[in-house]
Amino acid sequence: MKKYGKFGALVVVIVGTILWLATTGVGESKAYYKTIEEVGKMGGDVHTKRLRVAGDVEKGSIVRKVNIVEFTLEQEHRKLKVVYSGTDPLPDTFRDGAQALADGKMGADGVFHANKIQAKCASKYEAKPGQKSGEPQSYPKQVS
């Protein structure tokens, strides 16, 4: 039985290490999905938690400066000013009217500081299930 004890110990060590890595890693890399409305209601928490906010890029709001890009996200008539200062280039799909997902923290200045942007191209629509092709469509086309 001694060898099974050794086995058990090794398995426990391995699985334990993995669990430890998995649980302690969550704190630093988790981000909360919030709507713009929810962001407004979050109170004090808003500056400490990492957030992911989705919305449409307001037409004409994109201002590109040397190392940052400013734009406004819009969702159900609520707006959120965003400053992007990440190092990765913005995706090609990011432009006026695109659906974008900003990942970052709310600054004390009331502006959302994003370090990652994902965008879905909104130029092509595919009918939402149950919708006929003539009706307004709101879902973006696949990218791959």
Binding site: K3, Y4, V15, R64, P89, Q99, D103, K124
Partner: protein, 668 residues
Amino acid sequence: MENIGSLAILLAFCFALYAIAGSVAGKLKQRPFLVLSAQRAVYVVWFLVTVAAGIMVHAFVTDDFSFAYVASHSNRSMPTQYKVSALWGGQEGSLLFWSWLLSCYGMVAVFMNRRRHREFMPYTAAIIMSVQTFFLILNAFVVSPFKMLAVGALITAVPDGTGLHPSLQYPAMAIHPPMLYLGFVGFTIPFAFAMGSLITRQPGEAWIATTRRWTIVTWLFQSCGVALGAAWAYDALGWGGYWAWDPVENASLLPWFSATAFLHSVMMQEKKGMMKVWNMVLIASTFFLCIFGTSLTRTGLVSSVHAFAQSTIGNYFVTFLAVGIAATVYLILDRLPYLRSEAQLESVVSRESSFLFNNLILLASSFAVLWGTLFPIISEAVSGEKISLDASWFNRLMIPIGLFLLFLTGVGPLFAWRRTSVESLRRNFMMPGIASVLLVGALMAAGMRHFYALISFGFCLFVALTIFSEFYKGARAISAKNQMNFLAATVELTHRNTRRYGGYLIHMGIVLVFIGCSGAAFNRDITAEVGIGSSIALSPYTLKVADLKEGDNGNYLWHYAEVEVFRDGKHIDTLKPERRFYKANRTPLGQVAIRRRLNHDLYINFAASENQKATVQVYIFPLVNWIWIGVLVLVFGTLVALVPSKVKMQYARTEIVGIGKKYATVEN
């Protein structure tokens, strides 16, 4: 045409149902004719699905935009090869393509075994056809690719087609989905064999022996699919990453992990009759993870950069998965007595235990990635808050796991079966161990401080040396005995046991991939706004923008920058990063310029341009090419493993306990 297509799908659906019913009834009632006719129904299904897929491809190639699917995924000005690949550019087409691949696999599997395994083949065919039926239901009733636009005598304006998304108009991307699909769909076959064998309570390992090549080939497709996806991301997306732990990327990795575990653990069953339940579990998980991966990419369950249209097919997939998993679990539990192990583990330091840990790690990886991918859904269900985990979480977890796996790759094959003596451990590991420690010391002396990179390089050398020594020892023995030169002896050695030495080559490929990935610890980049004549410095290079040009070629508008590359004051190259604007779907797309070298890549992305000024991002990616070289070595190794061994061998059973065993020839 579209009516024939729809009809073909519908008929295929009926024939698939008949094949299921015929096989099962024929087997239960002992009616060989019924089984035979069910077999032929499988061929008919293939023919009908081929007709349907052929009609679709024909519509693409002839620009028949009255097909709604063609109109939204193709464009008159697209090159023909992309028109064909547009078949799998969207949901309806890719599901049709899935169906077609499955019908091909099913036909080949049934045909090749038409005179073998009479006991369980009817069930195998029935299971393949059940999966086929599921996909045909989607093709016929849920997301039919044969929807037409209203084009008639009175309506003459047929649109030109909105085009395949430009980022997909790229060679690697044209073959990446089929590769991955071949890898996904292919696991249906070993799964069906496993279940067939389980249903009929087969005592032996016939299903493993029969599906060995299937599994390896399918695994190869899957590996290529994953690698092509990574290569495409690196070449096309403009930030030089090849892996971002995006849900859809993860979906392709999950079954790869469990399939890799399966490939290793079947050796335990073949050689020692151990891990029978485990292998059933692994092949079933691989199959269901393939289906899950397909559903993840096709239903938008988790938000992803690969944003697919939301649709109702998610429910169909969930139902299929639930029923399938429940049936499999029941079957395995019910047949447990037939899956009893024939041998026991004897030592922690043995080949058996290294396989066990390899399996544990691979499965843990699979589970961890699945957990991270589904975390938004899980957290929303538990706490009501949707929380996502980003790449840093995956890296934190997967880098140590990967390194441990790399270490096992080195030590596992050198452990003896049953138990390994201290003496042989020292003989095998002394030299590689010392060399690795020296390498790590040298790298640290040279100023490298990145912990994981140091560990990774150390392990890479260790594993590479153990592989070399295996080849060296074997080849030296052969060359001494047969008076051959060393190279010929190496080939002879490999040919004698292709599975073993092919496996070593695959391990070597993995080592190279790890070397390439470790280079990412030393990536550097710079972003600058430049005009004609200005220059950017990123050591060891100085880049000078010689010209900015623009133009139009029908399919897209383009801008490009001519960047001259200087090193130590000498002009060594000219790169042309480009930015395109595709007209059909009004989408911009960057075309990066890469100067590929073995030590590092110089990677330039043309990010934006305005008034004769361009924003350019320059990156240096050390060692990244070794990833692609490693994949090529892996492919080569897999092909070697597929060559029949010169010395016909059956795995020797070292300990034969139990009943109903074949007489094993001892030759290893």
